[in-house]
Symmetry: D4
Subunit: 251 residues, 8 copies
């Protein structure tokens, strides 16, 4: 039973087409059924859509294409939207064979199947510091879009040329949540958070070399931000940022 089916069922009750007690039994049965499906190598958590408003998302990393495709099929069969992150070409091929309507976002390395979901209330700005941060920024954007949010992409506005971000102040101010993606010294979230009064989700990227230590310098910079309103997710975790931004935008 998808959220949409649930809504239809309740509507039918409201309209007298279905008896309240019958509906009660159907919903209870659904809820009391096993909250996950055991594929042996994975337990697909179908309950998550009810519990958290969005079904399980597949992290492609460390899974074989076959495992990814099998889990994806189960999710799509239930009528849920699909999101596979960190999906390479092999994973895409395997999923596409089984789910023809799936779509591949090559920059974001994500596979999606869209469904009608409840819309976010405002717009989410996705801001990136440099051209090399775009892959992670796109992962955040694809995630938040699939979850029903309007997205405003503000790319390549790093702090070395501060006029670039200052000139986008209006777009930043009109967002309800802002995701800021940056590598190297990771200073952009501090500057952005100082300009606005909405929450900023900072995503450090592994962009850089030498003492950037694969994103650690950016991560530390963001955790130590002197500006209010900055919280941080894991290095390169565009998905996580998009997901949190969507949660906030649905409040």
């Amino acid at each position: 039973m998808t959220p949409l089916e649930l809504r239809s069922l309740l509507a039918a009750v409201g309209e007298g087409r279905i008896n309240a007690d019958d509906a009660h039994q159907r919903i209870l049965a659904e809820l009391k059924s096993l909250p996950y499906e055991d594929l042996g190598f994975a337990r697909v958590d179908h309950h998550r859509a009810i519990r958290q408003g969005f079904p399980e998302v597949i992290l492609g990393l460390g899974k074989t294409p076959d495992q990814i495709a099998a889990i994806a099929s189960r999710i799509v069969e239930r009528g849920h939207p699909l999101l596979v992150t960190r999906a390479d070409e092999a994973a895409w091929t395997a999923v596409h064979l089984r789910i023809p309507e799936a779509r591949y976002h090559s920059t974001a390395r994500a596979i999606t199947v869209g469904r009608e979901v409840s819309p976010g209330k405002g717009r989410i700005a996705i801001v990136s510091a440099g051209t090399s941060d775009v892959a992670v920024a796109e992962e955040a954007a694809v995630t938040a879009e699939l979850m029903g949010n309007g997205i405003d992409r503000v790319f390549d506005v790093g702090v070395a040329g501060i006029h670039r971000v200052l000139s986008e102040r209006d777009r930043l101010s009109s967002a309800r949540v802002i995701v800021v993606v940056a590598g190297m010294e990771g200073a952009l979230p501090s500057v952005v958070a100082g300009l606005v009064d909405v929450p900023v989700i900072a995503v450090p990227t592994s962009v850089g070399y030498g003492a950037s230590f694969g994103g650690v310098a950016a991560l530390l910079g963001m955790l130590n931000s002197c500006a209010n309103g900055v919280s941080v997710v894991n290095i390169d975790n565009g998905y996580g940022a998009g997901c949190i931004a969507s949660m906030i935008n649905h409040l």
Copy 2:
């Protein structure tokens, strides 16, 4: 001009007691005045209350009691609410001398002067894993309360006895944002985030010994959370978490 004065002014315009053009001039003058006050050793950012809805907050760490008291006076004189974090007894004495209405929260190590501020929309749950995490949890609570939010404290529900957190599921579910404070392995935010569908702000604490490395173990655990909706602030940064939670709760 405080936000309240601004509101009164606009009301007066609406009621015809003040001419719109005059009001326009007064507001412009206020806005165009220097956005900060230079004390030599510090620039007090009075503009922040307009820009971000809450005035500058004083981090007590690394400032002398006199510096803290001087900045605090300037903030209170403008009619702004006051928050000093990481304030020891010496700072408290210095501030109290100048600002008799100030209040000291000894567990949270915070000094406050409350003002009427716009209220948050829901409740913020502040969850802590152990007794030793309470100081940081209280810093978050005092911060969020001062910013106009209702707080629900859910303390000492660490994952080693999972029934403790499960038995508080209802309180967690009824919050609009959740701050989770934990030291040691920092696993509690993952478990909490798996139970709810609202954003979780995770605060690692420096509680622990040996390989906890002053909170690094908890920090890494939270950054690598397998659950959706967890973003992280600096180790022991209860203030930051309270502030972000308030921002979200005001959306």
Copy 3:
């Protein structure tokens, strides 16, 4: 002389088929012989089976296929069970040529030849947090099975959906030792150890990205576990965990 041959010899003495003095001499001769066999590049420790109840195990990492096959042959010739860990396809080919009865466990990357060994007293539960942890979990399972233990695999029960592990409480409670394998934040051992009263061997895996630092986040999480009864082995060391679990299960 294998443990089985020793048992036969002693039985024969008990039945009067062999004179006690002769048996004494044979056993002494065996014990006093060189405790290892020197292959030039390696000293095969045949004494270990007597000293520790299980013969030397070959870590495939950093050895050539030929070296692995040569050591493996010597072990099998003595009638000992064989375990090669971290064995790639090349190692498997080289070993298989010399030891046709060997078996390859591709998920666990292990080569085995089973022998009759003394059985463990209870069951060992092997628990894993995610699909990507299965390789390490299988290495633990193959190891413990070869050492004579009954295994119960409880896979993909990570803490983000806490109901998954709670619903397996009975299987966990009925094990005599539990091996818990987890990457990312490594929180699962804390939760499991809080549910049971038997020792938990925690195995961090290198699964994750960014600030998981190749398993360091999970390792630290496990070392700082707030639950009783958790001890930890090296990152990805499924073999070590299986071996300790077997030792405990034979007590």
Copy 4:
């Protein structure tokens, strides 16, 4: 209801002195009562004695003497054994005032109140590398003794004079579990584990200077042990090691 009261109750049922249904009701009532007692700053987990065979243990670190004494009183009132670790003189004074029968182990920095508990099956050897490791070794010993185990202390047998540990081989071999405590390079657990066939719980200590990094060198040495049967707990975590050793010794 303590485990001993439970045993008496069941005995009474067996002897016909109490009706089985009545006993059933009393046990159920006990089990269904709140599994913890909420002191505001702490939730005392009285259920743990039933779940894990030993009640909650108080980690003194980061708690005030008053908090420690309050929690300790609740535990002792229920008839449970008491263990406070990392207890300084102030904590001891506060506890002693409320619980006169408590005992202070100054080397181990532990406070205990003993109760009759189920005895362990064999002996636990506590081995330490140097004189400076004794505090941690004693914490392990006090813990395991309180939990009902016989202890054999084998102190100051570091690997720089290998004859010291070799001359204690018999004592090591006759233990059912071995706890090995070592700082500096942490090599002792590898040598001990190579001599015996029982599990070795390794405890790194923060003893050393310079590149010992507060016990990290010893911790890494133990995690990378080339010997079978070594699992590791946190730096200086004598309590954890004693607790795991006791669990194993009760199997």
Copy 5:
């Protein structure tokens, strides 16, 4: 022979008051004398004033007050300017006793004796992010002033309120070299360097807490700066920055 005495000597030669050959001999004698004075515990490098334009500077850290005073006396006796860094009150007392004209800069923790030195060509701006960074900024300022440079202090202009640094653009643009001192995320040098076309010397400070790791976060942020023209010195090394800025300003 101080640089000034050398200049006088050469002037006297130019004016015919001293014979060129005699002057040659005197200078050679001076140069060929031992290039350092051996105090047993220290070799005072008097040659450095000739080689590098400024005499040896005394790092107070790890030296006793007596050692500091003894070295200081030797330097002042030669007519050189004196700079002692990281000088606590005890060092100051010992030096003041021997050198009454010395001066103590308590914020900068520096002791100085000024001498006429060659003047720098432009002004050096010393910029700091927060009130807590002032000690290090002052160390840089005192150093550069003693070395003959005009200083412009621009304090408390951190990036969280970007208007503070933007409003000082003119002062920044008119400096010949800029020293930027910042703790926490260390983002200020990147922003400043993007606004000007002169070299920026970045000084990370140990200001911050938690994941600032005593200045490491700021250090990494500065090393990874995306802006041109930023080079970095050690954490809290105000002296080093002032010295380099002076060298550049004398080119």
Copy 6:
């Protein structure tokens, strides 16, 4: 409008060929036009040439050959000099197709198009410790040359044979700025800075193995230099060092 066009325009005004007011308008229009060109994935900062004396430089790392070529074209079309760093063969091919006059420096992995720029005042010495440091040293040299500086290469003068660097003392002394490139222990900048009185820009390289940790050992050695005048850039950042050296040499 390039700097050269600007100079022509002003000359024309001076010679009366163009009216001052018209020139004023043309310059203002240029300045007020968008300070960057938005390519979607990148914002080319054409303003930088006016603001900082040299246009935007392209870091090849993390950009596709097509992106690099597109940005490069825009820069060259404006009449600016071009520098692409970390450019592999694929990037070179893509750029060469669009910009036939570009030149590839294979050791330095840099692509350049030279333009007339304002000349530096003195010479820049580029010093390297070992043969393996040459790639980074060359990146610094190519950068500084393109920016109008005379370069003196002093290669392979590491401290293990101190006579090698001592014998080049004259060349070092005659430079106005020195860039020192070294891997392994990174000691060369300390020795060089002790010999001269000009600023030394130290570049750690990732050359070395084992405990060199990809250049961290050299980086730390340079940050902790006991010599005056050493500031440091990121590991392998030859470009940054060349750029700073040029800035200083243009003062």
Copy 7:
């Protein structure tokens, strides 16, 4: 039996004063006696003098003054030389009470009782980079002197003034082994090792601040030395270096 007593005994045999068989028995008895004396908290390894030419040395760190004095008494009673390292004033007081002939070296923080030992063959040079490294250098010198070696102290010859070390080339060249003690960047051992052809034992010190990380920078610099013949001991381990130098000098 001390080495001297052994020598007397053998001389008596050689001179016919004692029968060879009797001597044989006495020596065997001595050798076969317990190789250590068990004080409960420590096992004093009297055998070490025979095995390694010098008796056990007491590391004062982590031992109480009473423990130190007790072990020291046992060593001196056997006629062995005494060395206590890291001995503070309290330890010295306790030892002096029991062993009046003991001597305290306050700079080196060492307690010694000298005995006749076999002399080293050449001289050991102890070289230090700065005044703050002297404590560690003196620990090395006191150790090596007690072990029978002639010492040449060459202090404060750091690489920032390379002429200081070059001017001591002759003293360095005439040593048979060289100990080099340095903090900060730790470059001195590389330079010294490039000047001589004898082994250099490098000792990093915890001298420095910021990114010296308590001696880690110096340690890494020394491990990555580009010069031949440098081996390294732990941070601040003057004792270890003196001991190794003595071993080499006795070969």
Copy 8:
């Protein structure tokens, strides 16, 4: 002029075949010639053979095959012995083409050309812990052999089976210097050093996985050795260890 030619020359002087003044002149000329040969990308330090008894050794890492072959040719042309370390097949091919008498040691990845050198006084034992450490142990052995030392290889005697190393006690005791090569926990040097009274050069290897961190665990273990006489070289630096051992063995 090679060392052998020098010896012939002096012999001729001794026998009156060459006039002492002439010889003086020839030697002076040789010494005064440039101490290195400049190949552009490298300065070959021919003086090192005179200064340190062995010519420059080529580290293959980071050099092209052509660079290696060019430097190697210059060294061999001077009559010096050749050692190239970290030489892959491509380097070997390039060197072999130019120097047919060169020899490739594939396990040690070293290229050598032997010459008559002065012999070491005793034997050097090269001890390794495991089969996977052999490549590094062989690099040490090849180095020390080329430098004129007799080698005793004692391989695969790790501490998990302590009888393996104890049974080789006699070979260890008869060496004049011992090189001990070990990965994982790096405990072998401590055990070996406790058995002998000669210097032990410890070489950590990058063998291991997980928390061995590429040899860091072994490195820390060795630096923190509780045994006397252990000094340490860089991870995998078999060459360095062989070289130091040879230096000591030539004293």
